[in-house]
Symmetry: C2
Subunit: 389 residues, 2 copies
């Protein structure tokens, strides 16, 4: 067996079999950004200058929230890495990684973080010893190119995790991976099953007349709404987030909501995790990776429930808030720019702290398994203006 001998051939064969998944304009822009970064470096070397790479400073001090923008934005501080004796290896690795990205666009393929690490095993001296090193370089590249409006998925670095399950009044337009022909995927035709959002969604298009998108925390609740055709009677699209939504899920909801101008409602547990982790991440993104938020957050999202007021109105069974819940809620009030800016949210979180309890979305089952479908959701949806922002 001689795997080495067949390596070159492999790449070529596969490339020739496939069509572009992303519009050429997007790919041309991405390649243009890679080329211009590289050529600026090269020119600088020719002029005997010190080559450097600029990326946004990724710390909370460089993050701000403008309610008009609607998500946590990265600020204007930049970090400059200059090529020196000490940085030569990571500098070379960054350029090799950019080269890999360009190669993947040309061959219409992609790599996960882990795969990119293994690919580097053939980079001789520039190979990575640990995946944590290649992850950092990829994060740097992602931050660097985010300044040009290019996402990591456009660079063809795909997340390991796919997106959540989707069902309802939506046709997703994808393309056949081999022939490149458009494929209509009708999300009303999955029976009790569902559509899985792919790892990268940049190339998808959407046909829908749905009135809203319902983003659901748990798989169990999604299955209930799916199995009882809730999306049919409510004329909507349901998405299972499965906890904090993955990149692909957030990007999918964002692209769909933008393209078709549909409101997005979140339906999660009433606890500090559901509010300040799941919902906050969906809507405004995260502070630690603020350079991504312009791609991944869903600023149009609003909070359907379960609200602290619902716990009382619906006499829900509760559990006491744990120390970690109290800490999370207090952190949100004190440090989170999104909650700090929102009076209704401050009031709701303070109410929750005062009540000292939390309730799960499935607690509605106390009133009958399908009470959520027949009573709770219709009642809430008839007053959607009252949703928390």
């Amino acid at each position: 067996m001689s795997p080495r001998a067949t390596k070159k051939k492999t790449t070529r064969k596969t490339a020739s079999k496939r069509r572009k998944m992303v519009t050429d304009a997007t790919d041309r822009h991405t390649i243009g950004c890679i080329d211009s970064t590289a050529s600026t470096l090269y020119q600088r070397i020719l002029r005997k200058g010190k080559p450097e790479l600029k990326s946004p400073v990724r710390s909370l001090s460089n993050v701000h929230f403008d309610p008009k923008v609607g998500y946590l934005e990265i600020g204007k501080s930049r970090k400059v890495r200059t090529l020196t004796v000490n940085t030569v290896k990571s500098f070379a690795q960054t350029l090799k990684m950019m080269h890999l990205s360009k190669e993947m666009i040309g061959e219409d393929t992609f790599a996960t973080k882990r795969e990119a690490y293994y690919v580097s095993k053939n980079w001789d001296e520039a190979r990575f010893d640990e995946q944590s090193e290649s992850d950092t370089v990829m994060d740097d590249i992602e931050a660097m190119f985010s300044l040009d409006g290019v996402s990591r998925e456009q660079l063809r670095f795909y997340p390991e995790e796919h997106g959540g399950a989707v069902a309802g009044k939506l046709v997703v337009v994808d393309r056949d991976p081999v022939s490149g022909k458009p494929i209509d995927i009708d999300c009303t035709k999955f029976g009790t099953g569902a559509y899985t959002i792919p790892h990268s969604v940049e190339h998808l298009e959407f046909k829908t007349r749905a009135k809203f998108i319902l983003a659901i925390e748990t798989g169990g609740m999604f299955q209930r709404l799916q199995s009882h055709g809730f999306w049919d009677s409510a004329n909507c699209i349901i998405v299972s987030m499965g906890g904090v939504p993955t990149r692909a899920t957030r990007r999918f909801i964002r692209l769909l909501a933008d393209a078709r101008k549909i409101p997005v409602y979140a339906f999660v547990d009433c606890d500090p995790y559901g509010i300040s982790n799941i919902y906050r991440t969906l809507k405004v993104g995260s502070g630690n990776a603020a350079h991504l938020n312009k791609f991944f957050c869903v600023p149009q999202a609003r909070f359907l429930g379960v609200t602290p007021a619902d716990i009382e109105d619906y006499e829900l069974p509760t559990h006491p808030l744990l120390d970690v819940d109290v800490k999370r809620a207090k952190d949100a009030l004190k440090n989170d720019p999104f909650f700090k800016h929102s009076k209704p949210w401050r009031k709701a979180i303070e109410q929750l702290l005062k009540m000292g309890v939390r309730a799960e979305q499935q607690a509605l089952a106390k009133w009958g398994l399908n009470y959520v479908i027949e009573e709770y959701l219709p009642a809430k949806l008839s007053a959607s203006k009252a949703f928390l922002p």
Copy 2:
């Protein structure tokens, strides 16, 4: 707002809107088992005897492995719970839970463990205080009815987690949840996306001429095979397990492989977790819940790779085995009936321990991102008789 007032109505409305998802014969059998258990108890009470419930002993001492059967089987030891002053509450809860199950079959709905716990909040004195208590009662009922060949899903207790992603040469026949009409779901028509296996799969049927099912450990590898149309050239069905496969994924693969007599090949990391947790659970089930294995394991599964021999043959990048890996491998050799029965597996695990390293399936990317599609899988598949059992 008065949720209480609307509760009864809710259940009725929903029930009337839906058709049966499971063939009536299956439901009749399930209801028959519930009824006969209850009526035996009742007769015993009338005759002033002590009512009792029998279920299999769920400990490793009551588990055995017969290679001809192909999975870890529960033995013949039974545990008898008798109604006494001390057991009256849990006895009542068990009967209430059986009643809920019968009610759900009639109304064609289902409950997750968590929902069943919340439903009990209206059971007055028989209500559960903690979900762990209702989980135990549900596990007991599951074990009890497994003796009659009835699974938890047939009792309408559904897992919280759905199954993995599926793509390839397969049409899944489901039914529209509202109208009950059959729906053909063509898994070749998902572009870069995929089909999500529902929480319960008992009612599904399958049309396929695929040559095999490939069960894949990671979402990243699944996406690669899906995006490059591997299932098309290899004429197969690909399933993403996402680590240890969920109940729904295992049951789906089992039903599909049985119904269409298709071989199942596992493609996982070469490490003790991939071998003795993921693959072992898929193929022979688990020792702790042996009463389930007859429903959930896939005895026809075989191990395509990555094998210890592959690490050397393909010169894969490796990581050293951690202490936890070594412990897991030694446990498998010493205590696991499946590995103890299999000479080829004992040899393979001993080889891995001797090499002292592990390799991930994505390590094949060292030879090019699509080397796995163009070279590795075709080479392995051309010698499928050599797969580990």
